[in-house]
Amino acid sequence: MKINVRRVAKLANLPLSSEEEKKFEKQLEETLEYIESLNEIDTSKTLPADNVTSLQNITREDEVKPSLSQEEALKNAKSVYKGFFRVKGILRNE
């Protein structure tokens, strides 16, 4: 099972050098080999366990609660401008 590390790293927004790509390819292949044994188990009649709690229909009432102040919201950011979070200009791309 050949894993395309470059493609996966791009999907995962992880900047990798080409050495890292090679290193991780080997390590990830190891892990994949390991989990192959799952295929030995017959799950043709089993449903996926989407939820281990058996809870259902958990919702809350439509009530307003206090928000953080602007200062608190911005406090940990490395770049802010007039109340906004600021990043390098991105191309007009929706």
């Binding site: 995962a12 989990i35 281990v52 979070f85």
Partner: protein, 474 residues
């Protein structure tokens, strides 16, 4: 020079109430101990002296005013993945090196409301990705019993801090073994509550369908005391149970007559440390001697749980770690360590188009099989007893030997974590090399009372055993 930091929470509560000492003295004793021992152990990422003293003084005022709260004046250490308002929270990763949360996690809020004095944030495997605490970006924590050895993980800092009496009690979190396994390697009591029993709100997310915050303590009674404070539905966590919390302290008594205990040979896996095996078997005999009925049961091969856990956890991790983009907080994704990067990538791969059915969906199906397997077992028995870890505390550096180190070390605790069950580790003795050996007791969902009671009974019965007087040489 007092040894107040050696007290259990129960003893400390009594002493504070009887005015034998103050919370300030107790807190000072812990902080002194940290000053003297933490350059050797590295249990803490952040120590908050100022706030701790302030809170201790406040507690003392309340105590003299005859105010009583369950943890009033008790110094407590909190794993660094729990958000603490105004106090740096890093999850032991350099990505969050300067992150200061504007809010408290629900667990921390409840501890504060119960009067606890938070003295610091403990070291962990970065992002909770591990079973050694070696993957921390702030250096590894050492096992207090032998500083050439690992404390286990990912709550290694909390387990070491309790074992070394750097605090009275500590809080950890378990996704698959991260409370029980370090508790086992450090010789302390570690309780993983049922998933959904304690709120995850404010805990840096690792495996969303698995993460369970819980106490790491010196005694079983302390464990029940903390659980009582933390358990309950949270309006901020939709996965918490509306079932009322049990009264874990009141129901604690040393009686397991006719309790049906399941023992599965699958959990004495090939390659298990011989001393661990014999110690647990002896302990099981003791339980039998106390009136319990031991039944041999067959459980689903725990090795498959490794595969299930690996896939589900890494898939959830790959999504949970997506928010670290250095825009609103933290540093860039290049600061992720290798382990985090590997897990993110494997998770991304397992969820990606073309692979989802074969990996993620398949793993969730086998998860159902594991859940049903336990349900079947608990039709026959009340609790299951097994070794917590197949080995003693391993040497520093051991985790670097395999990319699957964590999952392999946690093979005996992964199945119960995957099924969202409750489990506790209690120390049962030491190896010839003076390393702690731990035993786990697993119960069905929301059966913490039986689990605690079984643990308490064993603990009380073995109070006079010689090894109970041992203390780490630091």
């Amino acid at each position: 020079m007092n040894n107040l930091n050696n007290l259990t929470a129960k003893q400390a509560r009594e002493g504070l109430k009887e005015k034998k000492f103050s919370s300030l003295e107790l807190t000072k004793a812990c902080l002194e101990r940290i000053k003297k021992t933490d350059n050797k152990l590295n249990s803490f990422v952040t120590v908050g002296e100022e706030e701790a003293f302030e809170n201790a003084r406040r507690s003392d005022n309340l105590i003299s005013g005859k105010e009583d709260k369950p943890l009033l004046g008790i110094p407590i250490a909190v794993k660094d993945n729990f958000s603490t308002k105004g106090i740096r929270t890093t999850a032991s990763s350099k990505v969050l090196d300067n992150y200061i949360p504007p809010f408290d996690s629900t667990v921390v809020r409840k501890l504060k409301e119960a009067g606890a004095v938070i003295i610091g944030k403990t070291n962990m495997d970065a992002w909770a990705h591990g079973s050694s605490t070696e993957t921390s970006d702030y250096g590894t924590t050492k096992n207090p019993w032998n500083t050439q050895r690992l404390p286990g993980g990912s709550s290694g800092g909390s387990a070491a801090a309790v074992a070394a009496d750097q605090c009275v009690v500590a809080i950890g979190s378990e996704t698959a073994g991260s409370i029980r396994q370090p508790a086992s390697w450090c010789g302390v009591v570690g309780l993983k509550p049922t998933y959904g029993r304690v709120s995850r709100y404010g805990v840096v997310a690792m495996g969303s369908s698995l993460d369970s915050p819980g106490p790491i303590t010196k005694t079983v009674e302390d464990s029940s005391l903390i659980l009582k404070v933390l358990a309950g539905k949270d309006d901020l966590d939709a996965t918490t149970s509306p079932l009322p919390a049990g009264d874990y302290t009141e129901s604690l008594m040393a009686n397991i007559k006719n309790l049906k205990i399941g023992v599965s040979s699958e959990y004495f896996i090939e390659g298990i440390d011989k001393e661990v095996e014999s110690a647990i078997k002896k302990a099981i005999k003791k339980l039998e001697g106390l009136g319990a009925r031991i039944e041999n049961i067959k459980l689903f091969d725990p090795n498959y749980a490794i595969d299930v856990y690996t896939i589900i956890q890494r898939s959830e991790v790959s999504s949970n770690l997506a928010r670290y983009d250095a825009i609103r907080y933290g540093f860039g994704r290049d600061r992720f360590g290798d382990e985090a990067k590997r897990r993110i990538m494997l998770g991304t791969y397992a969820l990606s188009s073309g692979y989802y059915d074969q990996y993620y969906k398949k793993a969730q199906k086998v998860r159902t099989i594991i859940i049903d397997d336990f349900k079947k077992a608990f039709d026959k028995v009340d609790v299951i007893v097994a070794p917590t870890s197949p080995s003693l505390a391993l040497p520093i550096g051991a985790s670097k030997e395999s990319t699957m180190f964590g999952e392999l070390s946690d093979v005996l605790v992964e199945p119960s974590s995957i099924a969202g069950l409750s489990g506790i580790n209690i120390p049962v003795g030491f190896s010839r090399s003076n390393l702690p050996i731990g035993m786990q007791i697993i119960g069905p969902q929301f059966a913490e009372e039986i689990v605690l009671q079984t643990a308490f009974t064993y603990e009380q019965e073995t109070l006079s055993e010689a090894w109970r007087n041992l203390k780490p040489k630091l």
